[in-house]
Symmetry: C2
Subunit: 339 residues, 2 copies
């Protein structure tokens, strides 16, 4: 568990920064960038000013740090891209988004040091299939070889597939995208990573059994999507009588689904709803309180509705949930993904 071979000395437990940070410094020097932007997610923000000083010292460029929260590669600071010649974006892997400003961004991933072998070995006890899909998040994706190795030793065939344009590595999933899990012929999945949301997402997106192995807490579990589904059908039921409904559209380049929002608004109007398109950077309870709406359909990050419903004063639905409400979508629960 040695440190990554970065010579620049920017490292933050429990992460190693991608050694590409050195490459980024070279790129800055070669590009002749005069103004370099730095964008860092909240958990790593404390390193930003040291990183800024380091870049200034090593390259001679002036550095501007993004002060707004950053929630993922979907959340590139476009205003920072407008004032900087090159932007160093820390902690996320590259995401293809339409805005050409994003071409200025160099992505420096943050890789968790945590070992995965032990927890994966424990997880095999919960697997019943002999062939499983393996998925993880970018923080652990460099350990995929270890995961596959342990599974094979236990006689389990690991299936690892590439996702779409939003992800960089085979087996990588995002809160909003499970392409690396879908479209494979397996009956079970192993998710390696932290938190409840991603393994739940795999379960809801595939409808299959998911075993979650958390290399940080060392715990393993079989995902139970029932409580989440109950909460979501509850939110849909509470939104049934809503008349004034906001359709939220994100300004974040990787979360902006304006076309989908227009379709959602048109569909609501066909059903007699008073739909208002709302364009915003951050979805917050005050927005819905101040607008005085009865409900909202969120076309931004699906986690806003699924993870944070409790903090909103009115039901916040994903687009497929709203279609369920209107009776336009039938059958099983449909997980919202951004493609």
């Amino acid at each position: 568990m040695g440190r990554a071979p970065s010579t620049s000395g920017f490292s933050l437990e429990p992460f190693d920064l991608d050694p590409d940070l050195d490459r980024a410094l070279e790129l800055i020097k070669k590009s002749g960038a005069k103004i370099v932007g730095v964008q860092v997610p909240e958990g790593l923000k404390r390193m930003a000013s040291d990183l800024a000083r380091g870049i200034e010292k090593e390259t001679g460029a002036g550095v501007i740090v993004s002060g707004d929260p950053c929630y993922g590669a979907c959340d590139v600071d476009l205003e920072l891209c407008r004032v900087a010649d090159l932007v160093v974006h820390i902690g996320h892997s590259k995401m293809q988004v339409a805005d050409p400003l994003v071409d200025k961004v160099v992505y420096i991933e943050a890789r968790m040091r945590a070992d995965v072998k032990e927890v994966v070995e424990m997880a095999t006890d919960l697997l019943s299939a002999r062939r499983v899909g393996v998925v993880t998040t970018v923080q652990h994706v460099h350990k995929m070889g270890d995961v596959v190795g342990v599974l094979e030793k236990k006689g389990v065939e690991a299936v690892v597939r590439s996702g779409g344009s939003r992800t960089t590595y085979p087996g990588q999933v995002l809160g909003c995208n499970y392409e690396a899990a879908r479209n494979m012929e397996v009956d079970e999945y192993l998710f390696v990573g932290t938190g409840q949301f991603h393994p739940l997402g795999v379960a809801l997106a595939t409808g299959k059994k998911v075993v979650a192995a958390d290399p940080v807490t060392g715990s393993v579990s079989v995902v139970d999507p029932t409580p989440m589904l109950k909460r979501r059908y509850g939110a849909i039921a509470r939104a049934m009588d809503a008349v004034r409904i906001a359709v939220l559209v994100s300004k974040k380049p990787g979360q902006c689904r304006m076309d989908l929002a227009r379709k959602v608004a048109a569909l609501g109007r066909e059903h007699g709803k008073n739909m208002v398109l709302v364009y915003l950077d951050r979805v917050e309870p005050e927005v819905l309180i101040n607008l005085g709406v009865d409900a909202a359909v969120c076309t931004a990050c699906p986690r806003i509705a699924l993870d944070d419903q409790a903090k909103y004063p009115v039901p916040v639905l994903t687009p497929p949930e709203f279609e369920l409400l209107l009776g336009e979508l039938k059958g099983d629960y449909h997980f919202d993904e951004i493609e």
Copy 2:
């Protein structure tokens, strides 16, 4: 105190919307705008969805409402301007700002109905000069004739001057700009409007006596800048030992002072401080906590430092306060204004 002659029926107590709303509807129709943005400050946000529906019905354009908070004409939603053909901005008078995107904005002021005559008559008892400068905010500026009339009846000469490019009307001040008060030969000022900040700003920007007359509460008072000054010198003293200092630069088009921020950063570095430029939309306590800085210099709206210091974990100074701290500015307190 009848309603303004808007035929569109969008009105919200205690404000009348500028009758130019009808002009805006005509403009939208004539311009052939397909997508119209609507931006409304928080206090009037509840009208946004009705306004959106009204515009859609009357003009056939599709409407998108800005969901982010709006604090003034300085705070035009540039992302909304990027997706809309024309933006209707409610509640503030036009401000000249450098960004050409702002040319898409039509400003619809909100005018307070509250009568001013009675409170101005009361205020004359507190005036000792026979010649006073008169200033107000855009919400009451249409009542300037009434203010001057009452003063003249009481034998007081009213001096009303135009401000600079940030304001639209003679006698109009902003939280960040007191040009309409400065540069006139008077010993006293009468401020007509609500709140404590603007009359304090007049007192600190001019160093003269200010009588405040609030048409909403009906109260009159002589402004005492001493408590504010004590708080500010306290913040400066607490920042004395700060080493790691953020220089905050706003993304809001009318609050962005990047050149000033660079000067502030250079000055701090000359004095051995570790300065980091931070570009952001909203200044919030979490930003300073997460960055781990000892203090901040805010080049955005001066009210952030002066009104909200209590909510920040570290001292937040205006640029002239930082110069005072470094000993680069001598003499009296210097109020931060944006020009």
